[in-house]
């Protein structure tokens, strides 16, 4: 009977194409608007590293001014000072640990035909790659000893390796970056976590960096750092004074494999801060935090308020579209009252008719869902154009979202069709047949 119902639905939709088109358009518009905003919210709030997001922890220490707390005292500072980061690195208390900051510079290719390339860089520890599961095409990460020895080693992104070396294995070759020669130790594959959780302070949805170099080279001024810097008291002149000052500009991640390791690390952090208090630092009450990836994204409000607002508004719009669909379905099904009466006379039970008309509603919903998918694509392109780089890479509908769009359209339309179908199935057949 299912195929029979489908055929009847097709005939009904086709014969009453004007009304059907109105309903499909209403559902399509509602689904299109809803899916556009749901997709943006979904991708913004997605877990970028689901298999180990609960083992990676962002470290926060409250080193701020006792008289003027950071974030009005709600949260400790969102980055660490160079002093604290390097101290934590030296302590080496976590299974893996990574200190990092954003950097930039210019690569000068050996090939005279190639122009210098301005690149974004990440200054980080060796553990960065293993902690965040960065995939390598060629070579591998530099050693921890390279960090300590401040060796001029570099890992290239696939994009830069393609650009300069035509995609060939460049490991072992050298490259000139900001007038310093670096030895290439690895080339990573395309890697773009969404959100870019490892450094939210410089943009949760920016592209991942072009090159990766040891963090220790910042102190040597072999690379130029960038990103956000906040200071609560002035530092002296020169790099050494800046590094020793109370400016926060480094991010610190640790990998802790169990609850016990997390507790131990927190104990260590508390002890570290107590020790620093002896030197006149950390005058505020103890407020050390370890946030796993999803907690950190939540704290940093990666999903923007206006995105949430847009989603709420689009869902309200979908509700309005569905209310219209209910009205149109009611008109259509009640218009079929004589046919419904006749079908009852010929042996259709109320349950049978209910199934038939719900399937017709679902077919309209399916068509509306497909239209909505098309409109979602357009909506996402519109949002990408509106927001520019901030939304780069988020304006895509993956299989999950496409399935959700169709499922949402089907469920909404079936729900919208319940009342009209119920009304239609409860008409008196005798009355309808007589009134013909």
């Amino acid at each position: 009977m299912f195929t029979y119902y489908l055929r009847l639905a097709w005939i009904s939709i086709f014969r009453h194409w004007g009304l059907s088109l109105l309903m499909i358009s209403a559902i399509g518009l509602g689904i299109g608007a809803a899916m556009t905003t749901i997709t943006v919210n979904y991708l913004m709030s997605a877990n970028p590293i689901p298999h180990k997001s609960e083992q990676l922890f962002y470290v926060q220490l409250d080193s701020w001014d006792i008289n003027d707390p950071f974030d009005e005292g709600i949260n400790p500072p969102d980055q660490l000072t160079y002093t604290d980061s390097t101290n934590l690195m030296k302590a080496n208390k976590a299974f893996r640990q990574n200190v990092q900051a954003q950097a930039y510079g210019v690569i000068e290719p050996e090939d005279a035909d190639l122009l210098p390339i301005s690149v974004t860089a990440r200054a980080n520890s060796a553990d960065f790659f293993a902690m965040f599961d960065v995939p390598f095409i060629y070579g591998s990460v530099w050693s921890k000893q390279s960090d300590i020895n401040k060796e001029q080693v570099i890992v290239l992104s696939k994009k830069i390796n393609d650009q300069i070396f035509g995609g060939e294995n460049s490991v072992g070759k050298t490259i000139k970056f900001d007038n310093n020669v670096f030895k290439i130790v690895g080339v990573i594959d395309h890697w773009q976590p969404k959100p870019r959780f490892y450094d939210i302070t410089t943009g949760a949805f920016n592209e991942s960096e072009d090159i990766f170099v040891p963090f220790s080279l910042i102190a040597e001024e072999k690379i130029r750092r960038s990103g956000n810097t906040n200071c609560w008291k002035p530092s002296g002149d020169g790099m050494a004074a800046f590094l020793a000052g109370e400016c926060i500009w480094t991010q610190f991640w640790v990998e802790l494999r169990s609850e016990q390791e997390k507790q131990d690390y927190m104990t260590f952090l508390n002890a570290y801060v107590e020790e620093q208090k002896q030197y006149g630092r950390f005058q505020r009450p103890l407020d050390n935090r370890l946030s796993n990836v999803m907690q950190w994204l939540e704290k940093q409000e990666v999903v923007a308020d206006d995105a949430r607002m847009m989603m709420a508004m689009s869902l309200m719009f979908l509700s309005v579209c569905l209310l219209n669909t209910i009205g149109l379905l009611l008109a259509k099904f009640l218009g079929k009252a004589p046919e419904i009466g006749l079908r009852q006379a010929l042996g259709a039970s109320k349950a049978t008719l209910f199934t038939q008309y719900i399937i017709e509603s679902a077919c309209i919903g399916l068509a509306g869902g497909i239209l909505g998918l098309g409109l979602s694509f357009l909506g996402l392109i519109g949002i990408e154009n509106l927001y520019g780089d901030y939304m780069q890479g988020l304006a895509t509908l993956n299989i999950t979202m496409m399935t959700l769009a169709i499922a949402l359209a089907l469920i909404c339309t079936v729900i919208a069709g319940l009342y009209p179908t119920w009304r239609a199935c409860n008409i008196s057949p005798a009355q309808q047949l007589k009134s013909q």
Partner: protein, 234 residues
């Protein structure tokens, strides 16, 4: 066999109670051809709707083929209609969006026949009413008489024991009406019980048994005798 004992039907609105049937008693035996006559508003159609399980009755006792109708739920009544009753209406009631083949197919689908059996029955019954060559036509492409013949084919397709006809010739000219009546007589001769509501005394005369409904009650009339008397007087 159709047996109605002391059937009452009351239509209730906020202020008014209308007694459509009052103590209605009737027995129709297998193979009967019964014409039901009576003035407008006498309760003929209400009786036919109750007999066809399209409407419930207020109280009384109604059995169809030994089954107590009062105890059936919606599914049971639908199954009974589909298996045992065929309907013919004054305004044909074909589904305008479906062609003749699909119109006759409707009750067969609810019966659950397979495709081959459905096709056989559709072709056989459309052949029987002389419309086998027009299976793919829409109802709107047929004359009134042809549409009524399709409705008869549809009513017969499931092989019902009872055929209920409500003014089956009401929308037809006299020539078409006679043709449809002849078709019904043929069907009756093959064993189908027919109950026909009609205003047309001439058509009613052609059926072996006629009952008159007046004020919701039934009174048996032998129109053949009356007609014979009239001829003798003339």
């Amino acid at each position: 066999m159709l047996v109605m004992k002391n059937i009452n039907k009351v239509f209730q609105t906020a202020d008014i109670q209308t007694h459509a049937l009052r103590g209605f008693n009737l027995t129709v035996n297998e193979g009967d051809f019964v014409s039901v006559t009576g003035p407008s508003g006498s309760g003929k159609t209400t009786f036919l709707n109750i007999a066809g399980l399209l409407e419930t009755y207020t109280n009384g006792e109604f059995t169809l083929d030994g089954e107590n109708i009062g105890k059936l739920n919606d599914n049971g009544r639908s199954r009974m209609r589909n298996h045992k009753i065929g309907f013919i209406f004054q305004s044909f009631n074909l589904i305008p969006d479906l062609n003749l083949f699909d119109n006759v197919d409707v009750p067969l689908r609810y019966r659950g026949f397979n495709a081959k059996e459905r096709k056989r029955r559709i072709e056989e019954n459309l052949e029987r009413v002389g419309l086998a060559s027009r299976m793919k036509h829409l109802p709107s492409q047929l004359s009134g008489g042809q549409q009524q013949r399709v409705a008869i084919a549809r009513a017969l397709a499931t092989g019902p024991r009872f055929l209920l006809a409500d003014e089956p010739t009401g929308n037809l000219d006299s020539e078409m009406a006679q043709a449809v009546m002849s078709l019904l007589e043929d069907i009756n001769k093959q064993g189908t019980t027919i109950i026909m509501v009609t205003h047309d005394a001439q058509l009613a005369q052609r059926s072996p048994r006629t009952i008159q409904v007046m004020d919701g009650r039934v009174s048996e009339v032998d129109l053949h005798l009356t007609a014979a008397n009239q001829q003798a007087i003339a």
